[in-house]
C-alpha cells in the first residue's frame, strides 16, 4: 500500500488532451501517481484509457499538456528514450526469437555487456518462473507463459514505470486469478510503479492501490478501491463498479448529520446520512444508491424505525454457490437486487418465488449521489 504521507507525484500528468481529428480521446486530464503504486485506469472501451497509456509510453504525443516522470518532462521524448516499459495486450512477443532472446532484447539495445545480460536474464527468468522454457519459440508457449515472457521482457529493463495494457484479458478465468496475485507479488518485490489499464472492474479492485474511473476522456473519480466502491461520486461510477440499486428522490428535510429523501419508488421518505462530501439543500434532486449485499431480507417487518424498509415480492433468484442473488419487486413496481451470503449449508431454500418479504437497510449503508441521472 502507498504511504499516504509521501507525495503522490512520481508521475505527474497535467492538462493532457489528445485529439484525433474532431474526436477528443483524452480531455484535459490531471493525475498524480506515487512511487511504487499499483495504479489502475478503469473504463469501458473507447473511454480514452489506452490513449492515455500510449501517451505515457510515448507512442502518441499529447495535443496539449505535459507528462512528467520522476521529475523529468517526457512529453516529447520518443518511446525508446523513456524510463518506461510497456506490456502490450497482445503481448507482442517477437515470433522470430526464442524466449531468452525476447527477454534479452531490451538489454542488447542498451549495449550492456554480455555477462551482465546473462546474469539479468537469469534473475528475471527466475522471477517469472520461465526457467524450463528459455529456448522455446513463442509459438510453443501457452497464453500464461507468453504473458510471463512479456512481463519479463519489460521488467528486465528496470523501468521506473511499467505500463500494462489489459494484462490479464487474454487469459482464462482461473489463470487470471492466479496471475493477478503473481503480478501483485512481483510489483511488491521490485517496488516498480505499475500503471494498469483495464476494463475489468474486478481486476482493478483486487490489483490496485488506487483506481481512476474514466469515461469519455475524463476521470470521473480517483481513489482507493474501497472509496470507489463504497463512496461512488456519480451514477456512472456507481453503476460501472459492481451492481447497485439506485432510487431517484427529492431531499425533504435536513438534520445535523442525516436527511430525509422522498423516494416514490420506496413509498415515501427514507433516511440517509450526510457525510463530509454531501452538501445538499432541501428540494434538491438526489439519488439514493445501495449495494445488493447491504440489503437485508426478512419475513417480519424490521423493528429498526430509522432503517429504510419496503415491502415486496420475490420475483426471481439465482444461486451462485457462495451467494444467492434475489430480485424483489417492490409495491411501487420497482425491482431491486439483493444478494445474500449462503452461510448455512442447507438444501432447503430460504425464500421461494412469490414469497412476500421485507427488504431493509441501515441509513449509513446507502450513498447519496447528487444530480440527476
Amino acid at each position: 500500500m502507498t504511504d499516504p504521507t509521501k507525495p503522490a507525484d512520481f508521475i505527474r500528468i497535467r492538462n493532457v488532451s489528445k485529439h484525433f481529428g474532431d474526436f477528443v480521446a483524452v480531455d484535459g486530464v490531471n493525475l498524480d501517481i506515487g512511487k511504487s503504486e499499483l495504479f489502475s485506469i478503469l473504463g469501458g472501451s473507447g473511454c480514452g484509457k489506452s490513449t492515455l497509456l500510449r501517451m505515457m509510453a510515448g507512442f502518441e504525443t499529447p495535443t496539449s499538456g505535459t507528462i512528467e516522470i520522476d521529475g523529468v518532462d517526457v512529453t516529447n521524448q520518443p518511446p525508446y528514450e523513456r524510463p518506461v516499459n510497456m506490456m502490450f495486450q497482445s503481448y507482442a512477443i517477437f515470433p522470430h526469437m526464442n524466449v531468452e532472446k525476447n527477454i534479452a532484447y531490451g538489454l542488447r539495445k542498451e549495449g550492456i555487456a554480455k555477462q551482465e545480460i546473462i546474469k539479468r536474464v537469469d534473475d528475471v527468468v527466475g522471477l517469472v518462473q520461465l526457467g524450463d522454457f528459455r529456448k522455446r519459440r513463442p509459438d510453443q508457449l501457452s497464453g500464461g507463459q507468453r504473458q510471463r515472457v512479456a512481463l519479463a521482457r519489460a521488467l528486465i529493463k528496470r523501468p521506473k514505470v511499467l505500463l500494462l495494457d489489459e494484462p490479464l484479458a487474454a487469459l482464462d478465468k482461473k489463470l487470471r486469478e492466479h496471475t493477478q496475485f503473481e503480478l501483485m507479488n512481483i510489483q511488491d518485490e521490485l517496488g516498480v510503479t505499475f500503471v494498469v489499464v483495464t476494463h475489468d472492474q474486478e481486476e482493478a479492485m483486487t490489483l490496485s492501490t488506487r483506481i481512476a474511473v474514466m469515461n469519455e476522456g475524463r476521470f470521473l473519480q480517483v481513489g482507493t478501491p474501497k472509496e470507489i466502491y463504497e463512496y461512488p461520486n456519480s451514477r456512472f461510477v456507481a453503476d460501472f463498479i459492481g451492481t447497485i440499486n439506485t432510487f431517484e428522490g427529492t431531499v425533504s428535510r435536513i438534520d445535523d448529520n442525516a436527511m430525509s429523501v422522498d423516494c416514490p419508488e420506496l413509498g415515501g421518505d427514507v433516511r440517509a446520512l450526510i457525510d463530509d462530501n454531501t452538501h445538499v439543500n432541501v428540494g434538491q434532486q438526489v439519488c439514493i444508491a445501495v449495494r445488493p449485499e447491504k440489503i437485508f431480507i426478512s419475513f417480519e417487518e424490521p423493528e429498526d424505525h430509522e432503517g429504510v424498509r419496503a415491502h415486496g415480492v420475490v420475483d426471481d433468484f439465482g444461486y451462485f454457490g457462495n451467494l444467492s442473488l434475489y430480485r424483489i419487486r417492490l409495491e411501487s413496481g420497482r425491482t431491486i437486487q439483493v444478494s445474500w451470503q449462503n452461510q448455512r449449508r442447507s438444501a432447503k431454500r430460504f425464500v421461494e418465488w412469490e414469497d412476500k418479504v421485507w427488504v431493509s437497510w441501515r441509513p449509513r449503508s446507502a450513498v447519496v449521489i447528487k444530480g440527476e441521472s
Binding site: 525508446y80 518506461v84 502490450f88 495486450q89 522470430h96 531490451g106 542498451e110
Partner: protein
C-alpha cells in the same frame, strides 16, 4: 460404404494436381531431355531418334559439352544471371517501400493502391514494352526532356543497351515483388514494432530487428517471382536490347527457330532449368534445416 467413397475421393483429389504436373511438366521435360541427348539432322523432326533403326540406344552428350566449351554460352548465362539479379535487387529496393506504404495505408486508400499495382496487367505486356521503346529511344520522351532542360547536348544512347533491358525487366516484374511483400507486411502485428521501440530500439533499428526478418518469407517469394521469369525473358531483351545484348532466352529462341538446332536448344533449356532449380532447392533445404534446429 461412405468411408470407402471418402478414401476414393481423397485419392482422386490428390491425383489431379499430380496428373496435371505429370502431363504438363514432367512429360514435356522428358521430351526436352530426350531431344537434348540427340544429334541434329536435316529432317522432320530435326533430331535423331533415341533408338536407331536397329533398336539400339543412341544418345550423345555432345550438346552439353558444346555448351561448356563455347565461351558464348557461359558468358550469356552469366550475363542473364547478372541482369536478372540486378533487376531483382532494384525491384526489391523499390517494391519494399511501396508494399510497406500500401500495407500501412488507410483501408480505403489501400485497395486503390493495390488496384494501381495490378492495373498495368490490363494492358498487353507487348504494348507496355513498346511504350518503353518510345520513352528510351534517342528522340524519345526522356532524351527530349533532358535536352530541353539543358542537362545534355545530344541524346544519350539508352535504347538497345543492357541498361534498357535492366529498366524493362525491373518495370515489368515490379508487381510480382510488391504483391507477396504486401501480403506478409499487411498481416504483421504492428504492436511488435512498438514493442521494439519501447524496449529501446530506434525506428530504424526496429525495422531491421523486427520488420525485415518477419518479412523474409515475402522477400524470398518476391525475389523468386522476379528472378526466375527475368532469367528466361525473351521479349524484353529482343525489343529493348541491342544485337550485342544476348540473353539466354534470346539464345534459346535463336537456336530453335533460326539455327533449327533443336538438340542444342533443348540442352540450353535444361541447363537454364538446373541453374534456377538448384539454388531454390538449396534455399528450401536451408530453411527447413533452420526450422528444425529452432524446434
Amino acid at each position: 460404404m461412405p468411408q470407402r467413397t471418402d478414401k476414393t475421393w481423397r485419392r482422386v483429389t490428390i491425383a489431379i494436381p499430380y496428373l496435371w504436373l505429370f502431363v504438363f511438366f514432367l512429360l514435356p521435360f522428358a521430351i526436352i531431355l530426350k531431344i537434348s541427348l540427340a544429334d541434329p539432322i536435316v529432317a522432320q523432326p530435326p533430331f535423331t531418334p533415341i533408338f536407331d533403326a536397329q533398336g539400339r540406344l543412341s544418345v550423345t552428350l555432345d550438346n552439353f559439352l558444346f555448351l561448356l566449351t563455347d565461351k558464348l554460352y557461359a558468358f550469356t548465362y552469366l550475363k542473364s544471371v547478372f541482369l536478372a539479379g540486378a533487376a531483382t535487387v532494384l525491384c526489391l529496393m523499390l517494391g519494399f517501400p511501396m508494399a510497406y506504404g500500401i500495407a500501412r495505408a488507410q483501408p480505403a486508400v489501400r485497395s486503390l493502391l493495390l488496384l494501381l499495382i495490378v492495373l498495368p496487367f490490363w494492358i498487353s505486356f507487348l504494348l507496355r514494352v513498346y511504350a518503353w521503346m518510345g520513352l528510351l529511344n534517342n528522340y524519345g520522351a526522356i532524351n527530349n526532356a533532358l535536352m530541353w532542360l539543358g542537362l545534355i547536348d545530344q541524346p544519350v544512347q539508352m535504347m538497345y543497351t543492357d541498361f534498357a533491358i535492366f529498366i524493362g525487366l525491373t518495370y515489368s516484374y515490379l508487381p510480382f515483388m510488391v504483391l507477396p511483400l504486401y501480403a506478409t507486411l499487411e498481416r504483421m502485428d504492428l504492436d511488435l514494432i512498438e514493442a521494439a521501440q519501447d524496449l529501446g530500439a530506434s525506428r530504424t533499428r526496429a525495422f531491421w530487428d523486427v520488420t525485415w526478418p518477419l518479412a523474409r518469407a515475402g522477400v524470398i517469394a518476391g525475389c523468386l517471382l522476379v528472378f526466375i521469369p527475368a532469367m528466361g525473358e525473351y521479349v524484353i531483351p529482343y525489343l529493348l536490347g541491342g544485337p550485342e545484348s544476348l540473353l539466354i532466352g534470346r539464345v534459346l529462341f535463336d537456336e530453335f527457330f533460326v539455327n533449327r538446332d533443336w538438340p542444342l536448344a533443348a540442352s540450353v533449356a535444361i541447363v537454364l532449368l538446373l541453374l534456377l532449380v538448384v539454388p531454390i532447392v538449396m534455399l528450401q533445404r536451408s530453411q527447413t534445416g533452420e526450422a528444425e534446429t529452432a524446434a
